[in-house]
């Protein structure tokens, strides 16, 4: 048990670091969802099932979903912007 607990902590530290260091937000969302699951596992191993349950529903489902939706909105807007710029450039040419 003890070894598991230490291992999961180390894993939490590593995953958290990886989430921060992932620079592309789309990949980062996937990392964040995974990180949420790892945290939930940690809560289970430290005898906190209530917290683990809410971590699963929030950290691994609701949050990544909100991130994904807003990223796709932002990306779409940026694409539109680029298209408009492209057209202007073509016109100028």
């Amino acid at each position: 048990m003890l070894i598991l607990q230490i291992a999961i902590l180390a894993f939490v530290a590593i995953t958290g670091t990886a989430v921060v260091l992932t620079r592309d937000p789309r990949n980062q969302v996937i990392g964040l969802g995974f990180y949420g699951l790892v945290l939930a596992l940690m809560f289970f191993l430290y005898e906190a099932p209530d917290v683990a349950l809410s971590q699963i529903v929030i950290g691994a489902v609701a949050l990544p979903l909100m991130f994904m939706l807003s990223l796709s909105k932002i990306r779409r807007n940026e694409q539109k912007r680029d298209e408009v710029k492209q057209k202007q450039r073509e016109k100028a040419a």
Binding site: I6, V12, V20, V29, A48, V51, I58, G59, S70, L71
Partner: protein, 114 residues
Amino acid sequence: MSIFPYLVAAWLFLVGLYGVISSRNFVHIAMCLAVVQSSTYVLLLAIGYKTGGVPPIFAGAQVGTPAVDPIVQALMLTDIVVEATVVALLLALAVQIQKAAGTVNPDRLLELQG
């Protein structure tokens, strides 16, 4: 084991902050703040833990088993809600700033200087 979880908490806090200061995207910053917040989970969890303890749920548990602290767990539940709400607000702001300024990169926003 004696202080390792505390160190992990401090590490997560600082790594998250590093993400915030070096970020070029407000959405990325929101995710880094989620990591910063997870440091408080680790800290609270470690504080309330008892070696060999059982979860604080007493359906059919024999009397006298030491259970871990339920208070910190209740605090963590609140903490998780706070995380979700803060992230939602930050994302809404990020979406809006993209519409208004055309970018989510803090490096490119120069209006509030001086």
